[in-house]
């Protein structure tokens, strides 16, 4: 049973009525009810590198300004990604090694093996197919009646794409969505909707499924197919990974969540942002060539992953604060992308913004998002095809959001389509 049903969001503390030393932005419900913005606004102004301590996550530093986040993100010697990249610690018996949560040199080796799947050379090959799929999805939508954009478009498109990148049986593709959702439904990110034992059980089903795919894909020699599983199963560095179930599962979860939750929620977030900013929607109608720039602005605006965490490997100073060896350091990308000292008019959604690519939603440094080009391509094609067909994707009800301090997710975005006249 979800606690949300009996919970009144007005009970969440007003950040400006709270003593600054007690301010804690990590409650997943803040994000679900969009109450987090004011917390970060105050922290950026008054205490940009801020210590919090609570029962759930222990002691952790909140890094809220763009430049400080960049400093942490690019200093992987001092700020380690191990053993996990979200605020909460994983249980000892279920810590999943994955390259995003590894430091060099192992990180570099594993990342490099799978990166070609999401690289431009492969995407150029995939682009016509993606456009065809986008057209099919859009052409199958009901006209003039209310439906959930999240399910019919955002999830469908990203899940089809992910199935292709894994060469995953297409008819089973919603399993990827399911596993992605389960992976991020955990108290490690401020969500208490699922028992950890149930989560583990479902993720082991994911592992079992993918072991079969692995077994079918070994022995491809030194020119494996371009899907993630074939690349891992045939590289001398990773071909034994399947024998370490936690590590294979960890990397699967990384690639599934990375390719799924992120773009999905930027697709939904873009529709909502344009509805909330009708002048920007008019700009788009007047000149669809703004789409590539708009895509970057949508990704900044949505910041689909709100944070990444690090652990200090030594005593260090950040923003005038003394960070102790072993301290958790949380980089709030969602806040850095609203930092007005770095981004001009950061709290305005401007689809023709100058330097729109200068946002921190993909992170910076050696852990920078590997799928950024896949994301940008999907969003670009989607909006090009939307604009050919529809005058207005109208949001007709309150969006329902996910309870999480990590995934800035939509559960429901009710829309009605108005075709071009």
């Amino acid at each position: 049973m979800s606690v949300a049903e009996t919970f009144d969001p007005s009970e969440l503390p007003d950040p400006y009525a709270t003593p600054i030393e007690e301010l804690d932005p990590s409650d997943g419900r803040l994000f679900e009810h969009q109450k987090h913005w004011a917390y970060f606004e105050r922290l950026r102004k008054e205490d940009p590198v801020h210590l919090s301590e609570n029962e759930e996550f222990g002691r952790f530093w909140n890094v809220t300004k763009f430049k400080d986040i960049l400093a942490v993100d690019t200093n992987h010697q001092v700020f380690s990604s191990e053993p996990s990249i979200v605020i909460g610690d994983p249980p000892e018996d279920f810590t999943l090694p994955m390259f995003i949560a590894m430091d060099p040199p192992k990180h570099d080796v594993q990342r490099k093996i799978v990166a070609p799947t999401a690289a431009p050379a492969n995407l150029i090959v995939l682009e016509p197919m993606i456009r065809e799929r986008v057209c099919n999805i859009l052409d199958s939508l009901p006209i003039g009646e209310k439906f959930n954009w999240v399910d019919k478009v955002s999830i469908e498109l990203t899940t089809q794409m992910l199935a292709t990148l894994f060469d995953f049986p297409f008819e089973d593709r919603r399993l990827l969505t399911h596993w992605s959702d389960v992976a991020t439904t955990t108290d490690q990110v401020g969500n208490n909707y699922m028992e950890e034992e149930e989560r583990k059980r479902i993720l082991w089903e994911c592992y079992d499924y993918f072991v079969k795919l692995w077994e079918q894909r070994t022995d491809q020699g030194d020119k494996p197919k371009m899907d993630f599983v074939s690349l891992l199963a045939n590289n001398p560095e990773t071909k034994e990974m399947v024998k370490n179930p936690l590590e294979y599962l960890g990397n699967l979860i990384l690639l599934i969540v990375g390719g799924n939750d992120t773009t999905r929620n930027s697709i939904s977030g873009g529709v909502l942002a344009l509805n909330q900013h009708p002048k920007e929607y008019d700009k788009l109608r007047a000149d669809p060539s703004v789409i590539p720039n708009m895509v970057s602005e949508i990704i900044r605006w949505q910041t689909p992953l709100a944070h990444m965490r690090r652990v200090a490997t030594q005593d260090t100073e950040l923003g005038g604060k003394q960070i102790k060896k072993g301290d958790k350091v949380v980089m709030w990308y969602i806040s850095g992308n609203r930092d007005e000292t770095e981004i001009d008019r950061a709290n305005d959604f401007l689809i023709d913004r100058e330097k729109a690519r200068h946002h921190i939603a993909f992170g910076f440094g050696i852990h920078r998002c590997m799928g950024n080009r896949v994301a940008e391509m999907q969003l670009k094609i989607l909006w090009e095809e939307i604009m050919k067909r529809f005058d207005f994707v109208e949001v007709v009800g309150e969006p329902e959001r996910l309870q999480s301090n990590f995934v800035m997710g939509f559960v429901d975005l009710p829309v009605v389509l108005h075709p071009k006249k």
């Binding site: 690019t74 060099p104 990166a115 431009p120 200068h358 910076f364 440094g365 920078r368 950024n372």
Partner: protein, 106 residues
């Protein structure tokens, strides 16, 4: 001050005077030379200011450090003469430098 020639992948040349102390990336961005994105703003953190240094100048543009080597893994079509242009500081010594831009940064 150094005169720098940026050559787009199409062959189009842009010859600009760049002040010493700036980076090769900044020289491109400030002079509206297309083809350099520099998403991170010059922190050696995104690999979207990748370019190729003309071989005749390789000994003048300095060595890549470990971070630049790591970040170059993120760029496409990396060659021995590949550099991240935010990591090359313009000096008078670099007068006449020729750099070539890749097809795309992303």
């Amino acid at each position: 001050m150094a005169r720098i020639t940026y050559i787009e992948h199409t062959g189009k040349e842009h010859v600009v005077e760049v002040q010493s102390g700036l980076s090769i990336m900044e020289g491109a961005v400030k002079n509206m030379v297309p083809g350099i994105d520099a998403d991170c703003g010059g922190a050696c953190a995104c690999a979207t200011c990748h370019l190729y240094v003309d071989e005749a100048f390789l000994n003048k543009t300095g060595e890549k450090d470990a971070m630049e080597e790591s970040m170059l893994d993120f760029a496409e079509d990396v060659k021995p003469e590949s550099r991240l242009s935010c990591q090359i500081e313009v000096t008078d010594e670099l007068d006449g430098l020729i750099v070539r831009l890749p097809v795309s940064q992303h």
